[in-house]
């Protein structure tokens, strides 16, 4: 028994040492004798049809022209945080990473700034709003990869049936419209409100901004401002007092929940974005219109979302990374991909090229009034998760909007001070 245990331990120890040794191998592109240089590129999967084919082709083209091998990994959104975190933990960070956050990586000193990883021509083509959305301490670290904007979707058939002439402009119009649609009966729902963990922060931000509130006041977090408490009470009342939403909006996700109901024609209004429009067009079941968000303060505001490309600072990889990024940012490449995925441009050349597409008009029109989440603040990376896990509780029966926002504010301050 003991010798067996000892043998097992011995083998285990040897294997552990070996595995550790593999783990600690230098992760710079291997430029040594015989080995070809290579970079690891991690891309989030925006769609099954377009993401991998595009990046595969781009990688092959890059290898052909530069000799640098590309280890391409297309990762689904559900597991990308986990996979990237594990890579960083094991000292095997990717060279190029696509994600919806960047500031924490910049804060940890893992990233090249734009002047190190992009040619000036590429850098100058970015739209200014997205440059600001990618800055950490005044320097661009999160390079915009694509953008999207939310818009207000309404079901034209249900609007006609309920006798509503035009999409609502104000919150009062909105509540009235929701009431009329809900009154149609037969399971119709006024507004599909997804405040479940998937994307609560996005839905919330749009309502918050359209009531004159914000995440921050100046540089300080202001999640529990009076305005915001009022907004969350409005949403809770919509669900529990007026009963104009689907059941349990705090426990409904966007993709499986709210969008599914709208696609099924059960819902009068929902906050969507261009990929939802593409799905609705493909199914052809619902006749829908796209409008500006209803607002309580005069000027409608929508949420813009910027996703990022980051270049990781590792010994000897700078030229390889720079070459790869410059290839992606060539107008014909970036614009071809963004168009295929149904998202919005982040470059001046892309905007000029895509402006003529009538399908994109409502979103491009909304873009000037779009606001971004405070992604440039590393604390946001925690605040976002906190909002996803708690905001829904406020709109459940018996939920307490003020208490939920107070706790979020407290946690945000703790995150800002570095825990």
């Amino acid at each position: 028994m003991t010798w067996r245990a000892m043998a097992l331990l011995a083998v285990g120890a040897v294997a552990t040492v070996l595995l550790n040794a593999c783990d600690r191998r230098p992760d710079a592109p291997r430029t040594g004798a015989g080995a070809e240089p290579s970079i690891t590129v991690v891309i989030a999967e925006y769609s099954k049809d377009h993401t991998r084919p595009f990046w595969q082709a781009l990688s092959e083209q890059y290898t052909k022209q530069s000799g640098v091998k590309v280890d391409l990994r297309v990762v689904d959104w559900n597991s990308i945080d986990q996979q990237v975190s594990t890579m960083v933990q094991n000292n095997r960070a990717p060279d190029v990473l696509n994600l919806n956050a960047f500031a924490s990586y910049a804060k940890d000193g893992l990233l090249y700034a734009a002047d190190e990883a992009l040619s000036p021509k590429t850098r100058d083509d970015f739209l200014e709003a997205f440059v600001r959305g990618g800055e950490y301490r005044g320097k661009l670290h999160g390079f915009p990869i694509l953008s999207s904007a939310r818009a207000f979707f309404y079901n034209k058939d249900l609007f006609a049936k309920a006798g509503i002439a035009a999409p609502p402009k104000t919150w009062d119009d909105f509540t009235r419209a929701a009431r009329k649609i809900q009154a149609l009966g037969a399971g119709t729902i006024g507004y599909a409100l997804p405040l479940g963990p998937e994307e609560a922060q996005a839905e919330w931000a749009v309502w918050m901004w359209n009531n004159g509130g914000d995440w921050k006041s100046g540089d300080a977090w202001a999640i529990n401002s009076d305005r915001n408490v009022q907004t969350l009470r409005f949403l809770a009342d919509l669900a529990n007092r007026h009963k104009l939403t689907q059941v349990n909006p705090g426990k409904t996700n966007r993709t499986d929940g709210a969008f599914q109901l709208f696609k099924d024609g059960k819902v009068g209004m929902v906050m969507g974005f261009s990929p939802l429009a593409a799905q609705l067009d493909a199914e052809g079941k619902v006749s829908y219109g796209v409008a500006e968000m209803p607002t309580n303060v005069g000027q409608a505001v929508t949420l813009g979302v910027e996703d990022y490309l980051m270049a990781f600072r590792k010994p000897g990889n700078q030229q390889a990374v720079k070459g790869f990024l410059d290839l992606y940012y060539q107008p014909e490449h970036i614009t071809r991909w963004i168009s295929a995925e149904g998202f919005l441009p982040v470059t001046k050349s892309g905007l000029a090229q895509m402006a003529s597409n009538p399908k994109l008009k409502p979103y491009l029109d909304a873009l000037p009034n779009a606001r971004l989440a405070p992604t440039t603040d590393p604390a946001w990376d925690r605040v976002k998760l906190d909002v996803q896990q708690t905001l829904g509780l406020a709109v459940q029966p018996g939920g307490n909007p003020k208490q939920v926002l107070d706790q979020l504010q407290k946690n945000a301050l703790a995150a800002a001070s570095g825990r």
């Binding site: 010798w3 043998a7 097992l8 083998v11 285990g12 040897v14 294997a15 552990t16 595995l19 945080d81 986990q82 990237v84 975190s85 594990t86 890579m87 960083v88 933990q89 924490s104 990586y105 940890d108 893992l110 399971g187 405040l195 479940g196 963990p197 998937e198 609560a200 689907q246 059941v247 349990n248 705090g250 426990k251 409904t252 996700n253 499986d256 929940g257 599914q260 109901l261 099924d264 059960k266 590393p378 990376d381 925690r382 605040v383 998760l385 906190d386 996803q388 896990q389 708690t390 905001l391 829904g392 509780l393 946690n411 995150a415």
Partner: protein, 296 residues
């Protein structure tokens, strides 16, 4: 003695590949888990040094922990107990000869063969408030008057998850018990019948005691599987904010990647605790069972 030495090394040679495999997939991750639990990582995963046992102390401070532990106890106990009860009946049924038995035996494998995530997704749609067939069926049978949000209502989420947990545990458990039943020699039953034992008496005094080894295996393995089960709870609970319906396994994942904590070190500490809890549960179970056996 002199001959046993070299033989040992020969044995090691034969065992080598599997020992290496065990080292790679069991020993190494275990070491990595313990070392992670003693470390601090930034939100991006950058190692920031050792913190000793502080992660374990912080784990105890988490407000969600008591509810999560209670959920885990309910989840494991309910799934394993009900699975064993139903499997006993199913195994008995499949042990009888009846036309189409082979077909039923095959059909029982299906939930086992399907991927857990696919099964869980399927049940998420079955339970759905608006599109699910469960509500439609229950309403047309006049069991309920209004649809129920099975996965959104705090009162029903755990029950809905437990039902799926039982569904996917049945095949394995039934087959273990069926194998146990088939190992019971027919003479024992004959003797019981000669002694005039009734059917129920035969079951209690002959079948159950002789089934004990199979029951033991089925229970221990199920406790481990069900405790460690991730996909069912994760998928059916994905719409619910917070940690009110998480088990220790899904809570660990949320600590690491989905909550504001985003703390791999803290999640590692819970991972170590999870391993210890399951070890302890199995040891306690085995020792009470063998104790009762000695008494009997």
């Amino acid at each position: 003695m002199g001959r046993r030495g070299p033989r040992r090394w020969q044995a090691l040679l034969w065992l080598g590949p599997s020992l290496t495999l065990i080292a790679a997939v069991v020993v190494y991750p275990a070491i990595a888990l313990v070392s992670a639990s003693l470390s601090r990582y930034s939100i991006t995963g950058v190692y920031q040094g050792s913190v000793g046992t502080r992660n374990y102390a912080r784990l105890l401070e988490q407000q969600a922990l008591p509810a999560v532990v209670a959920n885990t106890a309910v989840w494991v106990t309910a799934v394993v107990a009900v699975t064993i009860l139903i499997s006993l009946a199913l195994a008995q049924l499949l042990n009888e000869r009846f036309p189409g038995r082979r077909l039923v035996r095959w059909a029982l494998i299906v939930p086992w063969a399907a991927s857990l995530i696919v099964t869980a997704k399927l049940f998420a749609w079955i339970y759905d408030y608006y599109f699910g067939i469960l509500n439609r069926a229950l309403i047309s049978l006049h069991v309920i008057a209004e649809p129920i949000d099975w996965l959104g209502d705090d009162a029903t989420v755990m029950g809905a998850m437990i039902a799926v947990g039982i569904f996917v545990s049945l095949p394995f458990t039934t087959y273990v018990l069926l194998a146990g039943l088939q190992a019971i020699p027919g003479e024992v039953y004959e003797a019981a019948r000669v002694d005039g034992a009734s059917g129920w008496r035969r079951y209690r005094s002959v079948t159950l005691p002789l089934l004990r080894p199979a029951l033991l295996v089925a229970t221990v393995l199920n406790v481990i599987y069900v405790f460690n089960s991730f996909p069912i709870v994760w998928t059916l609970n994905d719409r619910n904010p917070g940690f009110a319906h998480d088990t220790m396994i899904t809570y660990m994942y949320k600590i690491a990647f989905k909550s504001a904590l985003r703390d791999v070190g803290l999640a590692g500490a819970l991972g170590v605790v999870n391993v210890l809890v399951i070890l302890l549960a199995v040891v306690v179970y085995l020792s009470t069972v063998t104790w009762r056996e000695a008494e009997a």
